[in-house]
């Protein structure tokens, strides 16, 4: 049950740009009237323009042959978003998962890479960027804080936001701020792309792999 729900959240996370992580405490069944606490419907965080994908189509794709690769890729994208210092690691793994999707057999490495590049319409050098990120030693960044929700709540209270105020939340560590601001009638802009752009590319790769028609079709 938790795995299915996490995949649903990963699908929504890919669309909205949030690394949702499921921590399930209760769930509703037809026999018992316990309930699950969700807050997703409150989110109004503006994210990226560009390649659009429908939530329903993503969910359907996870059930198709090869859907297990999509599930793994979504999970890695979640990790890449959530933890910018590990974006390289998750990106590397995600691209490898994509390659396996295109592989017809275990010994099909070279051909599967070629098929992947052809389908995604990208050069090899761009694919290699994920690997380069993995081994990049950015020792200048000591700590990327994850702001607790109550600290974000305090900040939003102090700002005394009024209706339709536009709120800018730059830098990856400001996600919690954007989520807190989005609970108000405001328009929150979360600028992650400037911090770890590679996962945005991964997002495009996943959409092109599973959502776009093949160039040969």
């Amino acid at each position: 049950m938790a795995g299915v729900c996490q995949t649903l959240l990963d699908c929504y996370g890919l669309i909205s740009g949030h690394p949702f992580e499921l921590d399930m405490h209760t769930f509703k069944t037809s026999e018992a009237s316990t309930h699950v606490t969700w807050e997703l419907e409150n989110l109004r965080v503006e994210t990226f323009e560009g390649e659009k994908v429908r939530f329903e189509d993503l969910i359907s794709a996870t059930a198709l042959p090869g859907g297990h690769c999509l599930t793994r890729a979504l999970s890695d994208i979640r990790g890449a978003i959530r933890c910018p210092v590990d974006t390289g690691f998750y990106s590397f793994r995600c691209v490898e998962t994509l390659r396996q999707f295109f592989a017809e057999s275990r010994d099909d490495k070279a051909r599967s890479w070629a098929k992947l590049r052809n389908r995604l319409q990208v050069e090899r050098s761009y694919i290699d960027l994920g690997e380069a990120l993995l081994f990049e030693d950015d020792s200048s960044v000591r700590y990327i804080p994850q702001i607790p929700a109550e600290v974000a709540e305090l900040a939003v209270e102090l700002l005394d936001l009024s209706e339709n105020d536009s709120v800018y939340c730059p830098f990856s560590a400001s996600l919690q701020f954007a989520l807190a601001a989005a609970k108000r009638p405001t328009i929150a802009h979360w600028n992650l792309a400037s911090v770890c752009p590679y996962w945005v590319a991964l997002r495009c790769f996943v959409i092109r792999t599973w959502m776009s028609p093949s160039p040969t079709q």
């Binding site: 305090l154 730059p170 954007a178």
Partner: protein, 212 residues
């Protein structure tokens, strides 16, 4: 450091900004002539550049989360930044939060509250370092911030209390723009120490010991 939100070649201005950049990142490649005129003080430390970027993209209010180092460091560029925001009356408040709020580190964080539309003659310091309770979350122990309503009330009323004090800009200048809250607001440890001392007779050290 290229701004994402640009309109007609100018920085897009938002009504408010909430920012928390990575801590202790070295920004060795700040543009010398930023066309968006964001970095008046060119600090080696990224927190200052991040704060300047946040301020440049807002028309009025901003809150920037910074570690303690930003408050007490006195290198030229950092002092210049703090002097600028205090002199212009943009720095509304400095709120020191409890340690242990962030997972995996005990770094103490502070919220700098800016308002570019009001020229404040004073800066409000709030010591919220004891407003915490332990919390265990997914095998990670950390503190949770409490008494949010109390902090908001202190901020809105700007009243003097054991943990808050509005300090004139000139007093910040006398402290060389060191914005550590302990310099201005009496913190809990000091208060506890003073309370304990007041309950006992004390003598000067040189009355009971020979100082050599």
């Amino acid at each position: 450091m290229n701004p994402t939100f640009v309109e007609g070649g100018q920085r897009k201005l938002f009504d408010a900004c909430l920012a928390c950049g990575p801590f202790e990142v070295k920004r060795s490649q700040l543009p010398h002539h930023d066309v968006f005129k964001r970095f008046s003080a060119k600090s080696f430390y990224g927190e200052i550049a991040d704060a300047q970027h946040a301020l440049a993209q807002t028309g009025s209010r901003a809150i920037v989360v910074v570690p303690n180092g930003v408050l007490f460091r006195s290198a030229a560029a950092e002092r210049d930044f703090k002097e600028e925001v205090v002199r212009r009356g943009w720095l509304n408040a400095v709120i020191t939060l409890p340690e242990g709020l962030l997972s995996n580190t005990s770094l103490r964080i502070n919220q700098l509250v800016f308002d570019k539309t009001s020229a404040y003659s004073d800066v409000l310091f709030i010591d919220a370092s004891k407003f915490a309770e332990p919390r265990r979350e997914r095998r990670i122990s950390r503190n949770r911030l409490t008494n949010i309503a109390g902090i908001v009330d202190l901020f809105r009323t700007r009243k003097h209390s054991d943990v808050s004090r509005a300090v004139l800009r000139e007093d910040c200048e006398k402290q060389e723009y060191d914005l550590m809250v302990e310099r201005y607001a009496l913190n809990f440890e000091q208060k506890e120490t003073e309370t304990a001392l007041s309950q006992h007779a004390t003598v000067r050290l040189d009355e009971v010991a020979e100082i050599i």
